[in-house]
Every structure is written in C-alpha cells, then in structure tokens.
Amino acid sequence: MNQTHAPAGTPLVELRDIKVSFGGLHAVDGVSLTLMPGEVMAVVGGNGAGKSTLMHTIAGAHPADSGQILVNGSPVTIANPRDARSHGIEVIYQRLALADNIDASGNLFLGRELRTSSGALDDSAMASATRDVMKRLNPRFRNLNTPVKSLSGGQRQSVAIARAVHFNARILIMDEPTAALGPAETEQVRELIMQLKSEGIGIFLISHDIHDVFDLADRISVMMQGRLVGTVDKDKVTKDDVLGMIIMGKQPGSAA
C-alpha cells in the first residue's frame, strides 16, 4: 500500500483530466476530482453520465485513455484491479460482486487467498480472519460456512464491505451500496459508512438516491454526458440545486 507521508491537506486521490472512450463515445471526458481522507464524495448523474465508468477507471476495470491519477500526492498507474488494490483502493459493486456458490471467507479472500506452505488453500486461517472482521462489522453475522447465496442482501453487502476492511482499504468505491437492500439493512450499511469515514477512509459513493447522498456525503460531484458539471459542498446547496445540476447540467445559483 502507498502510505507515504504526504503533507497535511494532500488529497487521498486526485484525478486530473481523466478521459475514457469506448469506440467513438467519450464515456468520461476530461474529469478532475479530489477525495480527502475521511471524506465521502458522492458522484451523481443520470444514466450514462459516466460516473460508473469513472469509478471503474479508478478500480482498474477500465483503464483511462489519458489523464493522471494521484494517490497521496504521487502519480500511479492503474491498469487492472490488482494495481488498484495495491494502492489501497477497494470497490463494492452495485450488483454485489460476490460468487454466490462460495462461502463468506472464500469471497472475502477471492483472488488473494491465504495459502499454506505447500501452496494449498489455508481455509482455516481464512475462516478465522473472516470471523474476526465480521465480528467488528456485523456481530449478528454467523453463516460463515454457507454459500453466500443463502444470505440476506444486508449480510451479503457486509461480506463485500468486510473485504475492503480486512485488506485495509484507504479508498473505498461504493457503487449503489444500498440499491438492493431493505430499510433496516440500508440503515446498517449507512452506519458502516459513517464508521469507515471516522477511521479516515475516503469514500466515493455512487448513488441514485438523493436522500442517501444528502445524508452521507460531504461533497457532491455531478456528471452529465461524461463531463463534470460541478462539485459542491453538501451544506451549501439544496436538493433542488443538485437535481437541477443532474437534469439540466446547470450550476446552482445561475438564473433559470
């Protein structure tokens, strides 16, 4: 992980003029953003605004065509999910990127399995570590040995979050973390987000839910057609201002 002693006030992540295109389509067209430690930055916009693509770029799933990504003030190359993880970036995906047929610890360590000296999977060590991290996040969680298919949406989401916590994520990308959840489970995930934030983790939150955004975020970045409309402090705008940015692409305060 990259934990150089950057001077205070250095952003955790800084994006400079990121461009990503698919064929002729500019999915992300020159976006610059910053994320501070302990900050929740909401990224909002309509369908096809480019917010998911931008997050995929940070996560290494769609490398950028041009532009720069800085982590703790130093430029980094993120060409694949492994690169992203090595910089402490973890992602929690909208459709809960878990393998349904595998148990919680298998999912938590997917792609980063612990192994014994003979190279075999060390299932006991992984199960033990999973139990410890789940104890912290969701004390009611007890289905360590069953495939995650049989878990509730909230329990599945806590497995996904546990993955980020266990590997000491400094930067977390959450793509619609509450979209698949009921009210009680949504509340649980919200509490988790506030807890992670208090530990100094920076969070990108992609959400369609304007209430989620206003409850959780510190700043809000609005995207439209691949471009950044603007970034605003949550405390200085109203929901209507943000909706106006999402729908019309206009800056708050400008005449209608």
């Binding site: 393998a99 349904d100 006991s124 007890r142």
Partner: protein
C-alpha cells in the same frame, strides 16, 4: 457452529426440525451426495432382487468397478468444465485419437521408426508419456480458442469432435486395428494380471483407512488451532469408522472376494480402479484445496466477480481443458489396454456418457455447482443401470431409453430440490420410476 444451537426454538415441532438441521449442518455431510448414495443403494438392491441374486456378487461388482473407471475418470474433468459454464463434446473423439496414437507409438513408431523393438521395459512409459503430453497440448489448444479466442466451447469442441476422430484415419494406417499391444501397457486395462492381487490390495486398503483417518484428524486440528467451530467428535469418529468400513468391505468382499477364473486366486483391486481412485483424490484436492479449483468455482458462480477479484479467468478456463485432455489420455490408455487393441470407433458416444455422469452427479449447467465425487458416483450409477439391465437381458436400445429417462429425472429432481418444490420432486421421481419400470418390463427378451 455454536451459535446455531443457541437459537431459541419457536415451537416443539420446529425445534426438533431445527436440531436435525443443525446436526446436518454441523456434521457438514453433503446431503446431495448422501441422496446419490441412497439412490445407488436402491438401484443395486432392486437389480439384485429382479435378477434373482445375481447383482450383488463379487464378480458383478468387480466388473462394474472396472467398467465404470474409464468414464468416471473423464467425468471428474468434465465437472470442472461444466462448473465454469463450458462444455466439452470432443472427449470421445479425443479418447479415440489418443488411444490410437498410443498404440501407434508401441506397435509402429518405437519398433519400426526408431528401431527400438517391441515389448521392452520402456515401451509403456513412452506410450503413456506421449499420450498424456499430446492430450494436454490438444486440451490447451481447444481451451485457448475458447478462453482467448472467445469462441463458444460448444463450437470449438464440436469441431474437435470431428477433427480428432477424422485424424485417426490420417496416421498412415488407414484406420486399421492395431493389435496386440505392449504387455506392460495392457496391465493398465485390468486384464487377468492387471490387478493388485490379494496382499497388495489389503495394503492399499490399510493405507486408504489411515489416509481417511489422518485427513479427518488434521482438518480437526487445523480448525482447533484457529478456534473455529468443530464438528462434534462422535461425528468425526463415525465418519472415520464408516470410511474405513467401506474401504475394507470393498476390498475384502469385492476385490479379494472375486477369484480370477484363470488362476483361482483372489484378483484384488484392478488397476483401472486404482487409477480412478488416485485420479479422484487428486481432482478432489485440486478442486477444493488449490487456488485453481477455487477460481473455477468462482468463475462458474459469478464470472464478473472473479474478473474483478483479479483472477486470471482466461488462463483458468484454458487450464480446465488441459486437465480434461490429460484425463482423456488416461481413459484412452485404460480402454485400449483393456481391448489389447486400438480401433477407430474407440470412445464413440463417450462424450455423452461423461456429460451424463457429471450431470447425474449433481453438476449444474447454470455453473458454479458440482462435485468430483458426485460425478464418480454418477458414472457408477449409470454403469450400474447398464450392468443390471444386461443381467435382466434387456436389449441395448431399451437400455438407452432407461438411461435417458434416469438422466432427465435426476436433473428434474435436483432442480426441484434446489427451488424447494417438494411436490415436483415427488412427481418427477414417480414419473421417472414408472417410465423406467415400463421400459424394463417390456424390454426383457
């Protein structure tokens, strides 16, 4: 798990059911596998009584074990391929091709091309090495076209199905039968000498018992060290005792119970069965305890999650075909050695038997679900049906009809169980049984 026991019961009836479930969960006994064993037991008993006591004999079960081996070996590889949402239709043709190549090596290339003679100590080693290497290479080519080329596995292996069979006729012999084969090579097929013999079979059984007990003990110790929930000790002891009992009974009553018609000595475990047991152990280890196996199941469960987890999914998919190619070579050796000849139609329709064995064994085409041991049991179950029907003098076309009915019934029951539709389970079971019984009854000659 300790937590499960602490859940307060709602009603008296509910608590009992929950205790039973908690017991099953804590014993981690695979209910699907237990169901298959039960089905197999029912089939064996049914054929035993229908045939007037001819089925559960040392001789019949010994033959059954040898006849199941070649399909079962390939079925363990097919599980990984189907679990990762692919299919391999080429295995029958590939088996035929590899068998023919291995026979060419022993009967033409080593003696004639290289002038190194026939029936030498090294003949079988070279033949097997060539077959396994070629199987791996062909698997790699087919797998690479699937994984890196993005061509559906159905198409690639349908092509392979035609290509490998056709190539048999292009190897200079116009497809004539190659026979006899090397004396040592023939032992792989389990002929009169191709068995462990009485004493070595007992040694094999004792090693097996020790292995089962040791692995249960080691797993227990590992879990204890990490302070994880343990199975109740009586369950583990019971599993060890049951495992040993099955091994000792199989060797004592079947393998050593069957006297060779020629030597009048107990034959012991046949080499094809020894090979099957070793292959099964290796494949269980690979699928459950190695990263490769974990990745195969992850890809089958959610390919996107596997990709995002940083898994090299293409390489993993290609490797499943490499494993399949190697296992085809092993089965090809068993079948050619057993015939003491390579013939052009070797392995015809084997792809269907192998896929059926995997599917009857609980492998799901939806991906992510299937076990190696289930597939082996599936192969034994299919061979049991065939052997039993032969004992009942049922003609071959009727046998095919019954196997077809059983295949569809097994999958229908599996699907209904997965969805929790109890009535559908019953309806499928009864329909399948009635149809199969009807065909068996009318097919007797």
């Amino acid at each position: 798990m300790t937590d499960t026991h602490s859940a307060p019961p709602a009603t008296a009836d509910g608590s009992q059911r929950r205790d039973w479930r908690a017991f099953l969960a804590s014993s981690e006994i695979d209910t699907r596998l237990a169901g298959m064993v039960a089905a197999l037991a029912v089939i064996w008993l049914a054929f035993h009584f229908l045939s007037g006591g001819d089925f559960l004999t040392s001789r019949n079960l010994w033959n059954l074990s040898v006849q199941s081996a070649s399909i079962a070996v390939m079925a363990t590889g097919m599980v990984l391929i189907i679990v990762s949402r692919n299919i391999d239709l080429s295995v029958g043709s590939l088996l035929g091709f590899l068998g023919y190549v291995m026979a060419m090596v022993q009967t033409r290339w080593i003696p004639d091309t290289f002038g190194l003679g026939f029936n030498r100590w090294y003949t079988w080693i070279i033949a097997l090495a060539v077959g396994i290497t070629l199987g791996a290479l062909i698997g790699a080519v087919q797998g690479a076209v699937v994984a890196y080329g993005g061509v559906p596995a159905f198409i690639v292996t349908l092509g392979g199905f035609l290509v490998w069979r056709g190539l048999i006729f292009r190897m200079g012999e116009q497809g004539q039968t190659l026979s006899p084969l090397d004396d040592n090579f023939r032992l792989v097929g389990g002929g009169p000498d191709g068995s462990l013999g009485e004493v070595r079979s007992w040694v094999f059984a004792v090693i097996g018992c020790a292995g089962v007990s040791l692995s249960l003990y080691l797993s227990r110790r590992r879990r204890k060290r990490y302070d994880l929930s343990l199975r109740p000790l009586p369950v583990d002891v019971g599993l060890a005792v049951a495992g040993c009992a099955v091994i000792l009974a199989a060797v004592g009553l079947v393998a050593n119970g069957y006297e060779s018609p020629i030597t009048k000595q107990p034959t012991g475990v046949a080499y094809p069965v020894v090979i099957l047991i070793l292959v099964t152990m290796a494949m269980v280890y690979v699928s459950r305890r190695r990263r490769f196996g974990r990745y195969v199941y992850a890809i089958g469960g959610n390919p996107e999650a596997a990709e995002l987890g940083g898994i090299n999914t293409r390489r993993t998919l290609m490797m499943t075909f490499v494993v399949m190619g190697i296992l085809c070579a092993v089965s090809a050796a068993i079948q050619t050695a057993r015939l003491n000849a390579a013939v052009t139609n070797l392995g015809i329709q084997n792809e269907l038997d192998v896929i059926s064995a995997a599917v009857i064994g609980g492998t799901s085409f939806a991906g992510g679900i299937g076990t190696i041991t289930g597939a082996v049991l599936g192969a034994v179950l299919m061979q049991s049906l065939r052997s039993g029907m032969v004992l009942l003098r049922i003609d071959s076309p009727s046998q095919d009809i019954v196997v077809g009915i059983v295949l569809v019934t097994a999958v229908a029951i599996d699907a209904a169980l997965r969805l929790g539709k109890k009535r559908t389970v019953g309806v499928s079971l009864v329909t399948g049984l009635v149809l199969a019984a009807l065909i068996i009854q009318t097919g007797r000659q």
